[in-house]
């Protein structure tokens, strides 16, 4: 059940997308988000769609994985559709029942929003699917390093991020285990009345908190044993270096972005 969560998962590979410099990948992802949000016409969105498909194909990751991500956010998308469908009053009325009204514009905008959210999810998933969490936080640290001059704790932030990312799978596994253990004792977690479920949640949360604190404690001790005392003077095992392909990827993305902007104005 919890195993099916795919957001933030990394699939090792050797594709061109995998090999891009993670710093570039983050910037490209931001450009992609701008690309998807820049226009309000279907034609600009189609530029984003072509870009997404292109990147997904290049990444060599199965389309199925991306569809799984979409599935996990289906409730959010449905909510967006419902809100747009019933609250947009302009355009031709297609269907009416008492105070509820569906207009042609409402339908248009709903479809537009669905496509936009889907593209956004799939496109940004490429980043986490093709970049290991450790490299990702390295890249974040490097990208934010100018802020160090403003006394912003960049290293600490990056360390916190990598620890958090590192422990997501561990905690999921742990939660899975505790849920199973309590289920074995007859706790109703995915069946039974709402009250029973809420009560049984305690039997999961308490052990989970206890073990999180224990893990944090152990990690802190382990880090101290290895003389960790912050970012100053630390060197890196993996140096980030940009290659020509990174600049090509940047250029391609910029062309797509320009196309989206131009098509929107036209």
């Amino acid at each position: 059940m919890l195993r099916d969560i795919t957001i933030g998962q990394y699939f090792p590979g050797e594709s061109i997308i995998h090999r891009l410099d993670p710093r570039f990948k983050i910037v490209l992802t931001i450009l992609f988000i701008v690309m998807v949000f820049t226009g309000d016409k279907f034609i600009c969105l189609s530029v984003g769609a072509v870009f997404t498909v292109l990147v997904i194909l290049l990444s060599g990751i199965k389309i199925k994985m991306f569809l799984k991500t979409l599935k996990s956010l289906l409730p959010l998308m449905l909510l967006t559709v419902l809100l747009n469908l019933f609250f947009i009053k302009s355009g031709d009325v297609l269907w009416q029942w008492k105070f509820l009204k569906i207009t042609s514009e409402g339908v248009d905008i709903s479809i537009f929003m669905i496509v936009r959210i889907s593209l956004l999810l799939m496109g940004t998933s490429v980043l986490t699917y093709t970049t290991s969490p450790i490299t990702l936080t390295d890249a974040v640290e490097r990208l934010l390093s100018p802020l160090k001059k403003l006394r912003f704790p960049v290293h600490e932030l990056a360390m916190m991020m990598s620890i958090a990312l590192r422990f997501i799978p561990t905690l999921i596994e742990e939660t899975d285990k505790i849920i199973s253990a309590q289920k074995a004792r007859g706790a109703e977690i995915d069946s039974g009345s709402f009250m029973a479920r809420a009560k049984n949640l305690i039997s999961i949360l308490v052990p989970l908190f206890v073990s999180s604190f224990r893990r944090a404690d152990e990690l802190a001790t382990a880090m101290e044993c290895r003389c960790y005392n912050g970012g100053a003077g630390r060197t890196r095992l993996r140096q980030l270096r940009s290659a020509p392909r990174d600049y090509i990827a940047l250029a391609v993305t910029l062309i797509f972005l320009a196309a989206a902007i131009v098509l929107n104005i036209m």
């Binding site: 199973s180 074995a184 004792r185 069946s191």
Partner: protein, 287 residues
Amino acid sequence: MAVVETEELTYTYSIGTPFEKTAVDHVTLSLRDGGITGVMGHTGSGKSTLIQHFNGLIRPTSGRVLLDGKDIWEDKKNIRDVRFRVGLVFQYPEYQLFEETVYDDIAFGPKNMGLDESEIKRRIMDTANDIGLPEELMKRSPFELSGGQKRRVAIAGVMAMEPELLILDEPTAGLDPAGRDMILEHIKNYHRRTKNTILIVSHSMEDIAGFADSILVMNKGRLFCYDDTVNVFARLEELTRIGLDVPQITKVFDSLKHHGIDFGKQVYTVEYAKKLILQRLAEKEGL
């Protein structure tokens, strides 16, 4: 008594991802009723996945799990009743404790079964007696206890449900030898009192040898063998080939045999070995 069987049971993890793996592969078996069975297998042999099928925590990818001849997944609503009849104690069960007092924590399972207060109390007292938890601990917080005590409270939490089949996944993991012997002794107490079937997963051959009357061996997701303890340890070479060990005393007697000193019996506990040697010596004296 609960009769648990599986038919062509198969389970595959993460279907459709690069991490796809078949953990249990067409396993057909019928668990022996009433005795103590040891479950052995190399890490990743599928034993933990297999046992989670017995009480319906995992739904098979294909194949069936039968309880008293009925498919446990036939009616999903009854799956809780299956879990009351087949109890499962996970590895490191002390991490599941959550109640304010030891008593309440042990009572969690029995309460979920909907038993009345006096029956719950009776079961908790009996189990506490089996597992060696003194009365004065009952009102303490489970988080104040020592590691070994926590483990016993957690095991008691499942035992108090008095399942007809009790499955324990490495109940002695991470304990010192004294703690290990104690836990096994407590499990035996429970077995003697309730006469319920027990399935115990363990890496330690020595533990299983002196404890179980039959052994189920898993290898690479498949059922390797399921037989009396004597017969399983007789297959010393095959077990070694799949990365398992037999008790040290069995190895000693095996090599004695190769040196021409044949006792003609399978030996897998030190006590039995001692008895055989003394017998042999007595025979010699007698001559």
